[in-house]
Amino acid sequence: MIEAVAVNWTAVEPLIPELLLISVAVLLIGCDLFVPRQRQLLPWLTLVGCVTALAMVLGAQPISAFGGMFLADGYAMVFKAICLGAVILTALMSERFCRIIGLRQGEFYSLLLLSLTGMLLMASAGDLMVLYLGLELMALPVYALVGLHKREQRTSEAAIKYFLMGGFASALLLFGMSLLYGLTGTTEIMRIAEYIAARNLVDNPALLAALGLLLAGFSFKVAVAPFHLWTPDVYEGAPTIVTAFMSVGPKAAGFAIFGRVLFLGLPQLHDHWGPILAVLALLTMAVGNITALCQQSLKRMLAYSSIAHAGYALLGLLAGTAEGMAATLTYLTVYLFMNLGAFAILMLLAVPGESHESLDDCRGLAARNPLAAALMLVFLFSLTGIPPTGGFIGKFYLLKAAFAAGYTFTVVGAVLFSAISAYFYLRVVRIMYMSEPPEQAPVLTMDRGMAAVLGVCLLGVLGVGIFPGVVLDWTVSAIAGM
């Protein structure tokens, strides 16, 4: 006799946003296959799915599901909101750009959503297995996205490079995780900490080896020097829209697992990972900012700048305090707006047949399109960290957190490197405002999606800069619930 087992549907409730995104992704593939004439609907479907998921994530109650494997706490909520925001803005900007460079649309949106689902899982991971599952679900679609533009050679090179490097990083991570599992007998992150405390494993060499492998793996994922070497080539080779997305979404998700493992899993080892991260942060800022000085391609310059910004974001992580984590969250929130804003302007420069990615292509932008130039000005000053933009608030909070944790030298270094960064950001301003536009400069057109993205980014950057209380309250209270 077959007995009907009642499925407890309430158990999957915390997973609804992820499930929704997966079904939308499948729907997108279906639409692309069976109603190819209605392709213009795809970005809108993506948007609706993401906005609904965002509303669910923001409205959800903190909960720990599946026996602690899936944590939908405040910490996860902020990271999810950042990743969802990145995808929403990317989808909004994509329409014109994809048409210009001739990107196949169906795959683009469904891959974006699958990758997003992976990121959400990473943000919520309470268990090393879920963490790795999320990581791979995030990474695989991004490998495909990087190589999506098949006709361009650079793209294929970038995709292969990214795939190999990413696979290597995953292997390092897995190695570290298996050592952790071998030492503690559990994959649940919280239990690992309890076990290390109970058995006093802090100075165990195998644990330190695990820590080293994990740090290397995470550093690969968030592009922290000296594990950043893939970044410039991949960012430059990928279609700009994918670069914009990659520089924010997967990076934020990477920081989510980075912070979760270090804070929740290995807090006792802070004496070890704090100084290591301090050195890595300084190195990252040095490499990112100094190499960016001599770039001729705006896209490559933004790639190096995003390396440098990973270095700043590390400042909050290395403090090892709740305040530091809140600072990193705040910074990533601001970074979402300012970096995507800058990339949006870069995409605006593109015309059919030519991508216009070099600094020279911004020549005289202030005369050709004063609005675009003024917006770029705001984003660049925010990236430099000049008030009253959000970039300053984010940087200030990071510096303060690292300072309070006693990393004075690192803070002074960060400050000097951000002064160096002013030079290459200002160079763009200089070219936009202080040189004559070339003859026959292409006319820049702004479609509705792009206008919406620029509006949101401007609002985000200036809003955080002028009323920082809102974002700070949000991140601080999110951390309090961790």
Binding site: I386, F396, V415, Y423
Partner: protein
Amino acid sequence: MSIPLLSTLIFFPILGGLSLLCVPRTQISTIRLMALFVSLVELLLTLPLVLLFDKSTYVMQFVENRPWIEVLNINYSLGIDGISILFLLLTALIIVVSILVSWESIKDKVLEFFVALLLLEGAMMGVFCATDLFLFYIFWEAMLIPMFLIIGIWGGPNRIYATIKFFLYTLVGSLLMLVGIILLYQNGGHTFDILKLAGQPYSLKLQLILFWAFFAAFAVKVPMWPVHTWLPDAHTEAPAAGSVILAGVLIKMGAYGFLRFSLPILPDATQLMLMPMLVLSVIAIVYGAIICLAQTDLKRLIAYSSVSHMGFVTLGLFALNQRGLEGGILQMINHGVVTGALFLAIGMIYERTHTREIAAYGGLASTMPVFAGFFLLFTLAAVGLPGTNGFIGEFLILLGGFERQPWVAVVAASGLILGAWYMLWLYQRIFFNEVKESMQGLMPLNLREILTLMPMVLLIFWIGLYPNALLGFLHVSVGHLLDQVHGVGLAGMMPPPGIALHP
């Protein structure tokens, strides 16, 4: 006060500047008139401050205080005392004349220029009103953006080099100050309130670190020797309005920073670092003056004279007595007026001749007699002739310096002699000698230009003949500042500060 006067003062020009964006960019005359209107209303708005200001107390007046970022205990708090009120007036006036002098000389991107100018005004007002260290830093840094654009877009041929140099110098200084601010916050009871921070004792070691961190920002801005090298470039390449604002207000902020932060918050470090500061001031005075003698570029010469004059200002501040401090503050205002006026005049003549080479000029006194009269007056005020405002300030500073360290005043006084030398020699080369071919048939000053210069002339005489109009604002606040500096432990060593000093 129910009306938030200081907030209005800060945000009126900002909103006014943004409202210019609604005007179509082709209607240049409307844009100019609106900008002028906004700046005039702003000048009028400072009047109630002067009338309602209570000179008999040192406490902050017109105070506004609202929580801003509660997580970090940062408040939106504003207030002015006798020291800052003068700078508000100066800023409002300088912006009006800057708009007037840019009337015809700015032809390209007119809309952006006036928007930048008005945003700059709002930020500068904020710097002088803020009584929260974080808020102060926001305005202090925000000011850089419009100034960077003003020099870089509308400046002379070598403008890009100059503006990047200006930006990087100030940014590095400011960022070091930011680290200092965070350090102070951590050790000062987690507050950014200037008044609270000033009332607490700090260890001497901490004070010294903070002193140098603040010094990095303020000394670059003043600019003190040896970090002055951005100033000649920025001054020379900036458009007339930019030079006027730089000389008139921007470089005063460094000295204001010393007054507002270094002196009251770090009294022990200030006492200890007195000699190095005095020596740097004296070097700036003499070095700046000697360099002036070798200049062939009109604007560059005035720029180096600023270095020399600001040396007097810092000398007065670090004399740390009533006369020196009051003289220093008065000299800041004087220098703003006089050097501002000189840059205005140079801007007007540059519009006609399009050269800054001193050698290209000659005999202007016969071709532009009215202009020559104005310039003569400004020159004499810059030299410090009795009867003009320059005399009062420099005299008080030397007096204060002499009380502190006689030899300092003696060496500094040589700066006055050199000052007379290079300024009068400059005047001779430009206005006398035989009339050069290219100087024939220049347009005489028009009504707008005369109206631009007139307020400066009035101020020069007014301060020169009745300095108590300004010094009256200072007495009590400066006295309180000195109490703060000499307050702990060292009170017995100092002669009691004079009460009512009339020069």
